[in-house]
Symmetry: C2
């Protein structure tokens, strides 16, 4: 430690754990890319599987932030995104100390399950604690949003709605609703040909359906929140599948087209429809990738998982916890 490490600028360290979330009403499109404001609100379930654990340690000896991701030093885009995020944290904290960030994902990466949601939720919490910023849910959700839009929702447990607004007012809030389970079917279709960030931009620029996606999703969110309020799982499930199909349709309508659903994804949606035909209240959704998530009542989750398991590896998930700090800042 150099002499710059004094009591007025203590080297803090903090560790946080956050979980991914799957949107029932999708976030697809930004109204402001600089501060990550969404064109529409969205609704998601934070899961109890695939946590990300991130430790932020301030170190006065560093001349730049470092990132270790899943045991290996990270460079390029992941490191750049973390550094920009920590610049924002330092600006708010009035600090200039750089940090070592060590992060471990258990989310299958690059296949449509957003590790960036759990990743930036954990980073927001650990960095806020380490740099002495507020760690209440509203502050963390607002901050996590700047790293990755959907991370705003992983701050909260279970069902969460992330609302439109400005840089101050756009954050996620808890939603009371029916009990929801999810069966995540992981479809390996290789690296994505077009990243979600790029596809989101291309949708706004070239999809003739994008304006109607935005206006219809606003209406869909109102209906989804009403279904939550009424505890109506079936209505929420139907809305979920329709909204997912509409997001993929808006993307598919790009020029040139972008297709995220793989043959196995289609087979999974077909199987989910068959299960509905058999009387199980189950609906499908998919983020911008080939993975398919079956949304069902908790009591049906194992039966649904068994019915999908011959098509893809499945993980049963339930409502999970919000972000939590597992070690506070130390001097």
């Amino acid at each position: 430690m150099s002499d710059l490490s004094t009591a007025t600028t203590p080297a803090g360290t903090a560790t946080a754990v956050a979980h991914p979330n799957i949107a029932l009403v999708k976030y697809w499109g930004k109204s402001d890319a600089t501060v990550n404001l969404p064109e529409t609100g969205s609704l998601s379930l934070t899961l109890d599987v695939f946590p990300t654990t991130t430790t932020v340690t301030l170190d006065d000896d560093l001349t730049a932030d470092t990132l270790e991701l899943d045991g290996a030093p990270a460079h390029g885009t992941p490191l750049d995104r973390v550094r920009r995020f920590l610049d924002l944290v330092r600006e708010r904290a009035g600090r200039s100390t750089h940090a070592r960030v060590v992060s471990r994902n258990t989310v299958p990466t690059g296949a449509g399950l957003a590790s960036s949601a759990s990743g930036f939720a954990a980073l927001a919490a650990a960095a806020s604690a380490a740099y002495g910023l507020p760690t209440d849910a509203v502050s963390l959700s607002r901050l996590a949003r700047r790293g990755s839009g959907s991370a705003s929702r992983s701050i909260l447990p279970g069902l969460a709605a992330w609302h439109e607004g400005d840089d101050t007012s756009s954050y996620a809030v808890p939603v009371t609703g029916p009990a929801v389970a999810m069966v995540v079917a992981t479809v390996d279709a290789g690296p994505k040909a077009v990243s979600s960030r790029e596809a989101m931009r291309r949708s706004a620029d070239t999809s003739p359906y994008y304006p109607a996606w935005v206006t219809s999703t606003r209406e869909t969110l109102v209906a989804a929140l009403a279904a939550c309020e009424a505890g109506d799982f079936t209505a929420l499930g139907r809305i979920t599948e329709t909204n997912a199909m509409r997001m993929h349709a808006a993307i598919q309508a790009c020029d040139p087209p972008v297709r995220y659903l793989a043959p196995t994804s289609v087979r999974l949606f077909d199987r989910i429809a068959e299960l509905r035909g058999d009387g199980i209240d189950v609906w499908g959704t998919a983020d911008a990738g080939p993975n398919v998530v079956a949304v069902c009542r908790p009591g049906d989750a194992q039966r649904v998982a068994d019915a999908l398991a011959d098509l893809a590896p499945v993980t049963v998930a339930h409502a999970g916890p919000g972000v939590r700090l597992v070690a506070g800042p130390t001097a």
Copy 2:
């Protein structure tokens, strides 16, 4: 023959052959369902495969029209549609004699290749000849449209554009363009869960993307006709695939969603993209069903067919003839 069969109402007979067409710019949506006017113009290639042969024979002894379809008496919807069509022909011809209709398809039915296009094109020509109506291309195209919208295009050979308009002005016209071949990959996905007619109605009623489908397709048709005019196969191919993806996207956005592409369809589109990566100028399209049609230059057709053949049965098709009468009316 009864005595009613006199020289003033001679029993005419005529046989016509017509081929299916595949749209490069799709017809999806009606502005007037009564007389089958389309919301937008469309562009297609009449093929040289899968002909339908239809004979219409007037018979004064009949009290109602009869239909034999592929060797068996037809009832229900197919018979009703033929009878309504012949009512229109009789009204225009000022005749009341009923007819025997014998039709033989070679199109794989019910899987997205429209046998109704070749069917109503052949019926329009045979019935017009048998009942003494004009048999020029404009008259036949206008009439065939009343039976099935896309049948208006199967009256013409090769590339044909069917324009918006009113009952008198909406018919297909020939288009000069680059040489185009098609490789039809027939995907067996069982009977369609939702018929195209029903899905077309549901799109207009429940798809938030339908208005943008209509406006963007109008622009797309202008661009496609310009590509034809310029003899630019690549531009036409790219437009074709984007337009097909947009039609399927508009359908997928219905509430509840309608999905026509099967897992094998997605695999075929993936393979077509791979072939493009290998330097072959080939593009994909699909009507409202699981079949996929690869659109390429004639010189590449066999290579494309070979590359798709392990995924689905393939048929190589080229520009085919317009409808033709193979036996004139006899007394």
